[in-house]
Point group: C2
Chain length 905, copies 2
């Protein structure tokens, strides 16, 4: 016969399948000799047997539960349901894989009309006891007895209304007693039987409820989405409850074995006497720093520090501990590897290596989060100000970095103020896709609602804009254009500062400075003395030795290239030449090209652009001397260089009707009309799928020839000046091998001619973006005419999914929340579809041309999960924005090391 129930002291961490994750961890702590509130775990096998037998407990289970309950009561010295000093227990689910919030929990089991009085006298708090009882009836009624939870909520609302108060805490003991009567009435009416006074019945039915919750709809959905088998079942943990609010010799707290903010090797935490865990979290009362806890709880404090040291050595990492002191006795309720700031991550890893706790490999593989590395380069509020100033509010650290600017309340204002050079912070309750233009114009974003995956947070992180979200202390009056916080009122135009790294908000114009790492990279000697810099140097050097993937940067100017190189870029994977067509002089030439009636006029436009482009490329070759530079020929549709169709149509219509803002001369009107005619001619229903990329090169052959000439002339200059330029010329948006063959046939002679005329040898490569599904599917043919491929993963995701990146705002939120997509495919490379195209493109391209080198230049190149996929696909390099280069270097190393998903996520 099976053993259905394990005491915490009988299991260990390895038994997650049998005891669930929570049960195994409680067992592990118990075995370490730590003071965990005793209890026992009913196995997943028992759950599965229960389900198999049509919702019947398996033979022997109730006997084993009774036996373990008896031991537990003896150990705790108080029986469940005792009228003078009752033991309360929690009944919680615990599956082999974490399924947070999906299954049921019942707390305070053991309370009834009698034991509630005992609890009241033991805890010296009538209110606490009756509130606990109220919670039990509510939770049990809903979870175990299937009563509609809204009925209880409505009763609470009625009670508060009757009393004229807003908050639950304003209900006193008598109110709660009346409420309990109401609750019991609800249970009677809805179920036809009363709330059970028998603690054993409470316990058994709670266990059944947890078993059954494995098969609720929510849990089933979760498992399907997370690919967890339905056959695993859940364990049930029955654990004695302890209370930190039983008097002055009780208390509760949270402790970290090292400082989670700085990483310093000092225990850190808070203690709150005579309080429950939720009081610490709610921040209602002032806490005592852990260092001062000894003054009120000398023994418990000493014991806690010993346990902390033990736990850190056991887990070989910083631990986060929840503890309670009940009548002088220390209990550890939970421990886990503690969360920390990005800086602390590096400092702790460095110190732990130095201490011999872990080795270098472990540090790089498991302890450093590639995706957070860029936080360390973001500007910070000046150290002395950060120390001296008090934040007025704290929200979620949604997007790292500090920003200072004037408050605005609408996206339009943000965009207008920013256009006239004012730094702004956009303050909203929440943002919507329509706010995008204002968000990207702002220095920083502050919202009063919304979590770390709210629209504001996602956009801010994506665009690298500092943001604090869900700062709910802030009350925004959008119409009056002001907000209030901590008794102060902030008007539109007032300066505030937001620190997206720790989620703090200041109503002052605080000065910012580069981060220590950023300063060090730029040669600052002080910065180089920091532990952070030492950690960065040590671990990045190991990462570079380890990784297989090369890392390049997407950079369009000399300065961006220099910046990227300082961050370890090994070349440029993408120079977008369209940026070189902007600026007054250039746009004039570009428009001349677009409006040209004859080939001569068109050529004149090219002649004007050539020297400007050549200078741009010369700067890039200088900054990237000796390293490969991939330059993409002009990609966007030509109408992007012309005015907006709607605006111009309205302007012309008004001018023709004599109703415009300014009176246009007939001549000017004719020019506008000609411009509109061209805009209409070039207008496209779907420009993303229109006349752009190589199609432009084919329709306007002089354009690409001019660009190639400018690139090669710049390379010749560099070579003559003693440099070593390595140009790689990239044709965008190829769909067919013939496009590549014919383009190369046209352009390669231009390059040869320039080199021959100059009498200089430079190796010039020609390759293409693979950014259309068909290109990937015929990569073998295209590779015959290409020296290299670069996957344009943004466009590839657009066409593979049929998602226009500009338009998905209207539904992507719903898609992500309903898991209709595995993840946002513009953030992380989608493996099944897009990744398969990349696999086909890479494998078949190389099979046809063994010299082909293959990289990626979409923005995914700086996303750690995507870097892992690129490594798996066997690409030669990834390319990303200069600031993400260190991220990619580390992620590439972790890919080789097989870092666990959680650390690279």
């Amino acid at each position: 016969m099976s053993k259905w129930v394990y005491d915490f002291s009988e299991g260990d961490q390895s038994q997650k399948k049998l005891l669930g994750g929570k049960g195994a961890n409680l067992a592990e702590m118990t075995n370490l000799g730590l003071p965990v509130p005793p209890g026992f775990t009913i196995t997943t096998e028992a759950c599965n047997e229960y389900r198999k037998q049509g919702q019947e407990f398996p033979d022997g289970l109730l006997d084993e539960v009774a036996e373990h309950r008896k031991s537990l009561e003896e150990e705790m010295g108080r029986p469940i349901g005792d009228s003078s000093d009752p033991l309360l227990v929690s009944v919680r689910s615990g599956a082999p894989f974490s399924m947070p919030g999906m299954m049921d929990t019942v707390l305070n089991v053991g309370l009834n009309d009698e034991s509630v009085e005992g609890l009241a006298s033991q805890t010296d708090s009538d209110r606490f006891a009756w509130d606990s009882y109220r919670r039990l009836i509510q939770m049990y009624g809903k979870t175990v007895m299937g009563v509609d939870g809204d009925l209880f909520e409505e009763a609470i609302e009625s009670a508060k209304e009757a009393k004229g108060v807003d908050n639950d805490v304003d209900l006193d003991t008598d109110d709660l007693k009346a409420l309990i009567d109401d609750f019991k009435g609800i249970v009677d009416k809805e179920t036809g039987r009363g709330f059970p006074q028998d603690p054993t019945e409470q316990l058994h039915l709670s266990i059944e409820a947890v078993f059954s919750s494995w098969d609720n709809r929510r849990a089933q959905d979760y498992r399907r989405r997370n690919k967890i088998s339905d056959d695993l079942g859940t364990a049930v943990n029955v654990q004695s409850m302890v209370f930190g609010n039983r008097g002055d010799d009780s208390g509760t707290g949270v402790a970290f074995t090292r400082d989670p903010s700085t990483g310093d090797n000092n225990p850190y935490g808070d203690y709150l006497p005579n309080a429950q865990g939720e009081d610490v979290v709610a921040g209602i009362r002032n806490t005592t720093p852990l260092a001062d806890m000894g003054e009120v709880q000398a023994d418990a404090h000493k014991e806690l520090l010993e346990h902390m040291s033990k736990l850190e050595k056991h887990y070989k990492d910083m631990c986060d501990i929840e503890f309670t002191v009940e009548a002088g006795k220390l209990w550890l309720l939970q421990t886990r590897v503690g969360k920390r700031t990005s800086a602390a991550e590096w400092v702790m890893a460095y110190d732990m290596v130095e201490e011999g706790l872990i080795d270098d490999d472990t540090a790089v593989r498991e302890r450093l989060t590639a995706g957070r590395l860029d936080e360390l380069f973001k500007p910070v509020i000046k150290a002395e100000l950060k120390d001296s100033k008090e934040p007025v509010a704290t929200g979620l650290n949604a997007s790292p970095g500090a920003a200072v600017g004037k408050v605005v309340f609408t996206a339009d204002d943000a965009s207008e103020w920013a256009e006239r050079g004012e730094p702004v912070i956009l303050v909203r309750r929440e943002t919507t896709p329509d706010d995008y233009h204002g968000m990207v114009a702002a220095q920083g974003i502050l919202t009063s609602a919304g979590g770390t995956n709210s629209h504001a947070a996602v956009v801010a992180r994506g665009e690298g804009i500092p943001a604090v979200c869900g700062a709910d202390a802030i009350r925004i009056d959008r119409k009056a254009k002001k907000f209030t916080v901590a008794g102060e009122t902030v008007e539109e135009g007032d300066f505030i500062a937001v620190d997206g790294t720790d989620g703090t908000v200041y109503i002052e114009e605080l000065e910012t400075e580069p981060s220590a790492l950023e300063a060090a990279i730029n040669g600052d000697e002080e910065g180089k003395k920091s532990t952070l810099w030492k950690a960065y140097e040590r671990f990045m050097s190991l990462a570079d030795d380890t990784r297989r993937l090369r890392v390049r940067a997407n950079a369009d100017t000399h300065d961006q290239c220099a910046n990227a190189r300082a961050r370890g870029a090994e070349g440029v994977g993408l120079t977008r030449t369209e940026h070189m067509f902007l600026g007054e002089e250039r746009v004039r030439a570009v428009r001349k090209m677009i409006f040209a009636d004859t080939e001569e006029e068109e050529q004149e436009a090219y002649d004007a652009l050539l020297p400007l482009q050549r200078d741009d490329f010369a700067g890039i070759f200088e900054a990237m001397d000796g390293l490969p530079v991939t330059i993409r020929l002009l990609d966007p549709p030509l109408h992007e260089f012309l005015p907006n169709q709607v605006d111009l149509s309205v302007e012309v219509a008004l001018a023709e009707a004599g109703a415009g803002d300014e009176k246009l001369s007939d001549e000017d009107l004719d020019i506008k009309k000609a411009e509109l005619a061209k805009v209409n001619e070039l207008h496209e229903a779907n420009p993303m799928l229109g006349l752009r990329g190589v199609r432009l090169g084919i329709v306007k052959p002089g354009l690409y020839a001019m660009q190639v000439r400018a690139i090669v002339e710049a390379a010749v200059e560099a070579k003559k000046g003693g440099g070593d330029p390595k140009p790689e010329i990239m044709i965008p948006l190829t769909a067919t091998a013939e496009e590549m063959r014919q383009m190369r046939e046209e352009l390669e002679p231009v390059a040869k001619e320039v080199l021959e005329d100059a009498g200089v040898e430079v190796h010039v490569e020609f390759g293409t973006m693979i950014e259309l599904p068909r290109a990937a599917l015929v990569a073998g043919d295209i590779a015959k005419h290409s020296d290299f491929f670069s996957f344009g993963t943004n466009d590839l995701a657009q066409t593979a999914f049929g998602f226009s990146r500009d338009d998905i705002g209207k539904f992507m939120g719903m898609y992500e929340s309903r898991k209709l997509v595995p993840a946002n495919p513009f953030v992380t490379i989608e493996r099944e579809g897009v990744g398969r195209l990349m696999q086909i493109g890479t494998d078949e391209g190389r099979a046809a041309n063994d010299k082909l080198h293959v990289g990626i230049c979409g923005e995914h190149g700086g996303d750690p999960e995507s870097v892992v996929i690129c490594d798996e696909l066997g690409l030669d390099y990834v390319s990303c924005s200069p600031f993400r280069v260190p991220v990619a270097r580390l992620a590439a190393a972790q890919a080789v090391m097989g870092a666990s998903e959680s650390s690279s996520a």
Copy 2:
């Protein structure tokens, strides 16, 4: 030692690799005992040897040539270069695969300053002889000696200018003699040596020139594009030239063994006495019908009819013969299987089967062109009018069918006139993509320039609009809005008729009628007596027995379904429900849905639409009783139901400025402004990749639920009325398996509820379009939640290539002409990319769900080449427009039979 040279009598049709296509055919005719002008073929092996030895003739070749030349001169009784009666020869290339116009030819070899006089006296025409000599120098100078051909053309122009004439034929013998002196001067100056007077040198260097032309750039490109090996080499045919203009006992003509227009089994052709082949083609003089040739050339005519009969029996098909009579002697210059009209194709095949010349299988496999079958259903000009009226012009039969309407000269006029109900014929020199809206509004199209692949022709065929292109007798004065032809002037608004089946144009309002086949399908007894109908019945019945693919129709209404069923459709593969959202009442409800502020308002809109949709579906189930009907839920983006953004913006701006055409009340202006705000909100940068298809279904769940309810309620009605409805509900634009799973989870209960409420059983299937690359790549996952797949090949081509179908007009012409795409992927399924996605989707979908049925509902379903691909991919059915159903049935049979590409193209 190899044999390098074969007399025509030594080879046969099977030796194409050695003798080239032309050489092998000349040999075949010679062996049939037909009077072919004698000659010999130099083998492809000789060419390859020449190329291998660095442009040196292989040993023995010149000896063999000399030997065969001698035999030839003996046979013809005149030596090459003879001063009194010279034999002239042609030197032509002839590769194993046809490479039309890619390689070189030299005619009139053997003429020099002396023999030209002999030719003049023999032919009694000084002008002919000197013009022949002029042509030799020009062709030889350019081809063999490498002189720039423009120099000769310029000399001809100068001569004409000096004489003040426009045409070459106005140059007389003296002019030509002077021109020959000029030509010789050009050759001297450009090459440093004179035009060779030695006929042997002419012959040998011409052979070398043909050998070398195998490797010219043009030929290399052609081979690469057509995947012909460079190693094959070309043969060279040296053939004696004969002349039909040596007097009244000479002549030339073209003959067909049966009437190529009607298919009737009567020899048909034209004879022109004392003329050369080019005179027949140019139509300069009136020809004698073949039947009357016996009156002037009794013996030759009799002999010709005997040869024709022999050739038809030999080739087992109608032959097209070019012949010349020289001094009473008949020569056959060329024969090939003759081109014929679509009707003639069917009639001839039927007759030949009846005659026992071919069997049924051969007829269906090789003699019927699926792609032309729809021509037989197009309206025709009433038979009595067609017989009695004379066309004023003839152009290319660019798109079949007859059309009658008023002449307009601009696309805007076409569209405006059509909108007010006037039938129009759009007349242009050529059309551009900007004319599209006018083209589709017109009954027919007439252009004065452009070939069968011009923009006008391609669009007209694609849209099924009758068109005559390149009718160059027409002179258009676009500004004055009129055209002149055959001395008559046609003004805007005048009626004309165009017959796109034979390319004729009439300036009268001729009445049209249904074609014989269309009449027969609609039950007309007279039509059913025609041979054409008998042929159609016989061969289509065989096709239906043979094909593996089922054929469905894309049909949105009861009438379209009935029409499709009469043409053999076995169900509906695509009902587009968006058409059901049009019409005043419906658009009002749709707009209500779009503008709804509350769920109630939205539901009201659905309630209004439900009964209307149900009636639509009821009609479809009735017409398709017992057959499957696939209904696609709403697909297009919502803004398609709202006004155009530019127009509305201008209207509102003008109204606000008080400058609009009509004064709007404040209230109306507010409505317009609200409408504009919604239009702007719904505006998308790339609607093709935006909020449409299943995304709409997810964002507006009530919409699809309403449609499903309407479908199933209609099915219940049908079932209760004794019918057998087979609804297949199709979700568009799926990209992920979760979309399909969640949609099905929402919609299937709606269907079940309707059926349960009605107490009726109807089998309702749920499936999806596979029209995005990712959907094909994850088809295995999607198939788990789908009863069927239907490939949306238009959208799949759009996203695989990144080509917006609405926008490619600006470059697709260039893409097709430069072979940058294998073919227009919106016409024929592109095999390598799109086809591979279909293969993956089909194979992996079926592997995951063995009950899955798979079809195609893009417009490719009616394209014969695409049908072959669908058969190869193993699909279950194709679906196409009702009129293309017979095309698809025949093509599907030919796919199984392995029809040759030429017959199904």
